[in-house]
Symmetry: C2
Subunit: 479 residues, 2 copies
């Protein structure tokens, strides 16, 4: 875990010194939100907040870090002294880990003095962007497999050691049943899994000898990798020979396909297994799987019991980053002694931010299904059983009224004056909880939002008051 | 740095116990190679080997790691005792960091006993796949910018903390001039860079006040971010006002564009700066840049002095992983007491491996330009001034003869019995060296291979002897 506060963009530090020199360390509010669903999906999964909280409660500048900054020749001694005692002492609100999240809504809201809030921008985004990306990808893979057994196999293709460790954590939240990454298994209490590599088979004089040797050592866990030489010509035949001995001894076995046309090969292999009298023997597959490939295999009724997914799941594949950003929403005004809203404008209207200190409410219908997420100012509340009008965040004439059967406030206070508001759970318990949060929330989301391709777009809307505040800001600014 | 040997796929450990029980810990040779150029490019850049060597000389199982394995209930005490003393004691050959690399050629070759070689598969691939991906991406970005000034800004969008740290290291090898990641700057001795965020501007009552405050504190390093509210309407106007004061005091200034149509805005901003009498003021740009976007901006003569590149450069963008694999090439045969070649077959011929213990030679013409890389058995040599026939790795009738003016052996012995053959350089010196290796090798590569889009394919061929060995293997195997 990197706890050096130097893990930040250099401009945060030059700005921080600027604020310090100008005596501008007033209270501010920053939001983390994201701009569009990755993978053209209908939902994302929030992850990484728990590892972020671990860092936020510990991070600081070491004497060595301060010495490095001094060498840069642009920081004053007084500011460096200030950094010596630097800790995060603000408040942090966030969605629960494992929650479904949607574009535009604040998923983290930070109240702190300006310097603290500024310095931790990169840290917040680094932890939550990446883990949310991978939890989202995995949830898609898991749904595509009809909530099947997904094994995360990504260590060798992940983005560096932490790319592997964090990805395994996030994949487990997203629905993976286990991982090949033994260290992540140990650290996070995730089940570890695996079979054999081609090199096992190549290390023996023959494929059959390699299979028999493995079956003898691990009779309860044997999955034969059958594509080293010739899947249908030798692999499945030798697997059946070696498997038959296991079955005689009262065990079962499986086979794994790692190349070739999976739809065709899995059907042929199934036939061979059934013909040999082993309907209970199962088929596991791997090889550059994605949610789209898995979905087509399921649609073709490919007889597959479990899925080894690596590269695409631990990196995001064609989308390798999450679009989370961190923007100022309000700042303290000394003249009026109040928090005044702030807003970023852009030549691209989609990049305009939503001003003010905001909550997020999830509205449910009488069947407990989520209907919309609403951004509201914290000075307002949304009550169940009452009808309100809600507005599209950008397109003024798109509005709707809705009377929610129930309402859930999504942002929870997690750090108060820099300290956790609740006891830290051990990693295993926390992960089980985050995983359960996702599963429960997915139950409340209509299938149309969960489609892998071309999903329905879930509504994220503004209250009338927030919409008015935003419009007023834009009018003032655009001449 | 993760030095726990548990950072490995679980199946490596179950296989290792299998080898141990079978007394099969014979000497083997494994190759790391990759299968296709990422980004549809014409070359890749090898990186990560130096951080890998650091880990290989240190990694081991702690008492805690052993206890975790014991809990899994499938490892015998004798094998766990073996792991207690486990160290990497083999030999490792590799290309120099920063080298140009091409598909099919072994870029790392490991001679070790089977258990050691097997356990470090994930580690080797994790370090070298990721850093090679990012060094390659950055070299493309740097070439697209006509070897311009590239600032790596990716911390917030990188794949976890190490995704950021390793990516910064690799990006510097690939040609980045510096980074925003302060901790990576400290650790690796890379120049740190940055300007200001939108939040700086939003924290002041007005854009002009924000600019003036910054200019006052950092007169030598001021780059105004001009798109917070309205780039041409207010941003450039205020930058010129605040910049004029800097110029009066004998300083220069720059402006940064972070949204909108960069080609259009940079041209307009250039006109405004020139009209105001500041032809020396420079323009820096950022916002989801890729090598393709940079190339089109250069082709349009966009007046841009430096490029801030984040997301795509530190993750690979649409290609988030490198296709490096690790395959058995030879194993010791007890009966004959010789190393015998091994080969993996596949239903997909492109996945067939090249058998035997191999060297890689780079052949140069009389102008010092690289013409082809040749895979040869280590029992052979390729001499300059002599003509040989070389063969396509898969297509038998594609062959050519060539008399090289000079020949370079690409694989160097880096670890002997698990220890570095040369003294470890400090990180800063090593990075400078790796960076220089790349720059020198790029000079020997014809422009046609360096095109961003649709490059020429560089030849990687086999010697006649290696081709014969491979064909013999295939004939024996395919009935």
């Amino acid at each position: 875990m990197i706890t050096s506060a130097l893990f930040t963009d250099f401009y945060e530090l030059t700005m921080a010194q600027g604020y310090w020199k100008q005596n501008m360390n007033q209270e501010v509010v920053f939001d983390m939100f994201f701009r569009r669903q990755p993978f053209n999906g209908g939902f994302s999964v929030f992850a990484g907040i728990e590892t972020l909280l671990d860092v936020l409660t510990e991070f600081s500048f070491s004497a060595d870090d301060i010495a490095y900054l001094k060498e840069q020749g642009i920081f004053e001694q007084g500011f460096l002294d200030y950094l010596k005692d630097f800790r995060f002492t603000g408040d942090l609100y966030s969605f629960e880990e494992g929650s479904l999240i949607f574009p535009q809504e604040p998923i983290i809201r930070i109240h702190a003095n300006l310097i603290e809030a500024q310095i931790l921008e990169g840290l917040v985004l680094n932890h939550c962007n990446f883990q949310s990306l991978i939890a989202t990808k995995t949830a898609r893979v898991w749904l595509a497999s009809k909530k099947g057994s997904i094994m995360e196999f990504g260590l060798r293709r992940a983005q560096g050691p932490d790319g592997a460790m964090s990805a395994t954590r996030a994949a487990y939240i997203g629905g993976a049943a286990g991982t090949s990454n033994t260290l992540a298994g140990k650290r996070f209490g995730i089940p570890v899994m695996g079979t054999m590599a081609h090199s096992w088979i190549m290390s023996f004089p023959s494929e059959l000898e390699a299979f028999e040797a493995y079956a003898k050592i691990y009779p309860e866990k044997t999955v034969f990798l059958i594509d080293t030489y010739d899947t249908l010509g030798s692999g499945i035949k030798n697997a059946i020979k070696a498997g038959a001995k296991l079955v005689e001894q009262g065990y079962n076995f499986g086979v794994r396909l790692d190349s070739g046309d999976i739809a065709y090969l899995s059907a042929e292999v199934r036939k061979e297994l059934d013909k040999a009298g082993f309907p209970q023997a199962f088929i596991s597959v791997s090889n550059e799987l994605t949610e789209e490939i898995i979905e087509t295999l399921i649609q073709q009724n490919a007889p597959i019991a479990s899925w080894g997914v690596g590269t695409h799941m631990v990196t995001g594949g064609t989308e390798s980053s999450f679009t989370g950003v961190y923007k100022l929403a309000a700042r303290h005004d000394a003249k009026t002694d109040t928090m005044i809203p702030a807003m970023k404008f852009s030549d691209n209207p989609a990049k305009n931010t939503n001003p003010g200190i905001k909550n997020v409410y999830r509205l449910y219908d009488e069947n407990g299904m989520a209907k919309a997420d609403i951004l509201a100012l914290t000075t307002q509340s949304i009550e169940p059983g009452k009808e309100y009008r809600y507005h599209h965040p950008m397109v003024d004439y798109r509005q709707f009224t809705f009377k929610a059967a129930s309402v859930k406030e999504m942002l929870k206070l997690r750090l108060k004056n820099g300290k956790r508001t609740e006891e830290r759970l051990d990693d295993k318990t926390q992960l089980a909880k985050s995983r359960e949060t996702l599963r429960a929330q997915l139950e409340t989301l209509d299938a149309s939002y969960k489609r892998i391709i071309n999903p329905h777009i879930y509504k994220v809307s503004l209250t009338e008051e927030l919409k008015d505040l935003k419009v007023e800001f834009i009018k003032k600014n655009i001449k």
